[in-house]
Symmetry: C2
DNA sequence: CTGAAAGCGCTTACAG
DNA sequence: CTGAAAGCGCTTACAG
């Protein structure tokens, strides 16, 4: 292991004190142009990399943040996590991850470990569904940001997908295609589902219409529920020419039954899903028109917010990140859109 | 911000020198039982957490590892990444992630940043498909482990799913169910596909049989290919009573066409997929019997190997992590297996 | 068994 | 504008 070159090496090479070298390398304090150049050259020549650990000790900044994960391996949290860590990595900050699994004891453990490690901030990664998390902000003396979760304290900085926007862009797309009898099939008793439904219904109302079948059809997130709902829709097919589905599973369930009953998609009934599940799995079949929540962007936004908060400018409150419509055959028909031809609404 | 308690505080509280306190707290060197106890009590009373940054500087260990990601947001790399970071987190080591996107310049960049940060080791996270990665082991003076990838240097420590085992347990399951005319539909020109096929064929041969339809049907990983292959199978239905599919997409494509043509699954043809894609998406429909590559375990195993390598005991060579059969309706029929009732083969 | 001292590699008032 | 010094909080030979 070749001895690493240190700041003293650079100082000696440039013939100055190491405090002077430190100043020019951090760009702080006045230094004469020639001295500065000499030092910069020396650093360059020696290919100097400051020892981050030493800097951390001297400055009290660790350039590492803690990440607390509620359901670390959840399909939907995975992209958020990747967005988090990769954005943090770009900013040169490391990540110390603990999977909490809603176990309060582990939480205590983690907080202790975090303290030892002098983390600069904490990211709490939820599962995107649950009720508000109990705020841990007060327990720490570093900034906290909640990603894919909300906290029960209104001053906390939280990042979530914009469910209302999802409903809105789905409605706008369907209305633009001339659909006027838009129904929705989704999960019951779910805040996220309710947000999407609200965005949908409000947009339909603004256009002078109302939700087809009067009420949302609500039960759960499964393909099976989609299939059953499709039977009901098929029985009242005159009243429906489009369905916004709570997720892609439901959409797929509906698609299968509708086709089996001889109802054409999208000619008779257009379908819009949510999750961009195919996109996630990298297939790009373009079967379904769907709303992509851009989960990795949720993580990225939360990470950026945390870095800013560490720098002193917090962004308290709930933030809803924009989603994106990804068009496919279930609204445009076969061959209408190129593969992964995403239309972005803002 | 309440001043943190330091080792000197503990030493003073216990009435000893801080070097002595350091020794007992790290469990190194002989110290009398009573002194030891006094120090331990003091540390406890003060709730002392050693400043990790200071320890790092003093010992030269950073407790952070670099992670280089080839395709950071790939559906299949996501669980591996989560397995990595979470296993590392449990061991109290932080993670510094850079997404390389096969860009050699970024790689150089990253190596420099890693050097500055004194990382203890490096994890290279591949995409599970590509040809061997170019080994970067020689460029660093810290241990390197490749996860979900192989390197072009045979001494490197690499962790991959066990593709042959996947084919084997699929075959064993189908044979156990009495199937004797097993075909396979998979991708062409793909090492991973070839491994699974080999495991399948060898197991069938050991049982005294041979692959149905003589040859593997090979093209790509899409559902569309599954559907087309299913047409061919349907035309020669007498020769086939089971299909091992290269992935779940293909399986789903086959399933749809077979049913549309009045061929019963699993009664006439049993289907086994690969990826446990449904499981990934958290639905647990149990529609498909499939082989779960346990991707997060790949990451976990690689992380453990890296930690061991850092401690001095490397595990060079290619490691194939066991996969797992997850049974579903496509081989056992409706209601046969409970939800996510996984059968583990070893 | 225990203490006094040097050192890890930087940063940052403080003088001059 | 630049240098000498103290300090960040620990670890670890080295004496005694």
């Amino acid at each position: 292991m070749p001895k690493a070159v240190t700041l003293s090496d650079v100082a000696r090479e440039a013939g100055v004190d190491l405090s002077t070298a430190s100043r020019v390398l951090r760009g702080t304090g006045r230094v004469s142009a020639t001295t500065r150049q000499r030092i910069l050259d020396a650093a360059d020549r020696l290919d100097f990399r400051p020892n981050a650990q030493a800097q951390f000790l001297a400055t009290g900044i660790s350039k590492t943040v803690g990440v607390l994960t509620i359901n670390g391996y959840g399909t939907f949290t995975l992209p958020v996590l990747a967005g988090l860590t990769s954005t943090l990595g770009q900013q040169d900050v490391a990540t110390l991850l603990y999977d909490v699994r809603e176990d309060p004891e582990i939480l205590q453990e983690s907080v202790k470990k975090f303290r030892a490690r002098q983390i600069d901030g904490l990211l709490v990664l939820g599962d995107g569904l649950q009720a508000p998390l109990h705020s841990v902000t007060a327990n720490l003396q570093v900034p906290v940001v909640y990603a894919f979760a909300t906290s029960d304290s209104p001053d906390d900085s939280c990042f979530m997908p914009d469910g209302e926007m999802a409903g809105r862009i789905a409605a706008e797309h369907l209305l633009a295609l001339g659909r006027r009898r838009i129904a929705t099939v989704t999960a019951a008793d779910d805040i996220a589902a309710a947000d999407r439904t609200r965005g949908l219904v409000e947009t339909i109302r603004s256009a002078g219409g109302s939700l087809a079948l009067d009420q949302p059809l609500e039960r759960d997130w499964t393909r099976l529920w989609g299939a059953e709902a499709a039977e009901r829709i098929a029985d009242r097919i005159d009243e429906v020419d489009a369905v916004f589905c709570g997720n892609d599973q439901i959409a797929l369930g509906i698609l299968g039954v509708l086709r089996a009953r001889g109802i054409r998609v999208p000619e008779d009934v257009a379908l819009v899903g949510y999750d961009n599940w195919e996109g996630m799995v990298g297939q790009g079949n373009n079967l379904l028109t769907t709303v992509d929540p851009r989960l990795s962007e949720i993580g990225a936004a939360a990470a950026r917010a945390l870095v800013h908060a560490i720098d002193g400018s917090a962004a308290p409150g709930a933030h809803h990140e924009p989603c994106e419509l990804v068009t496919g055959e279930s609204t445009l028909g076969v061959g209408a859109a190129g593969p992964r031809d995403a239309t972005t609404y803002r």
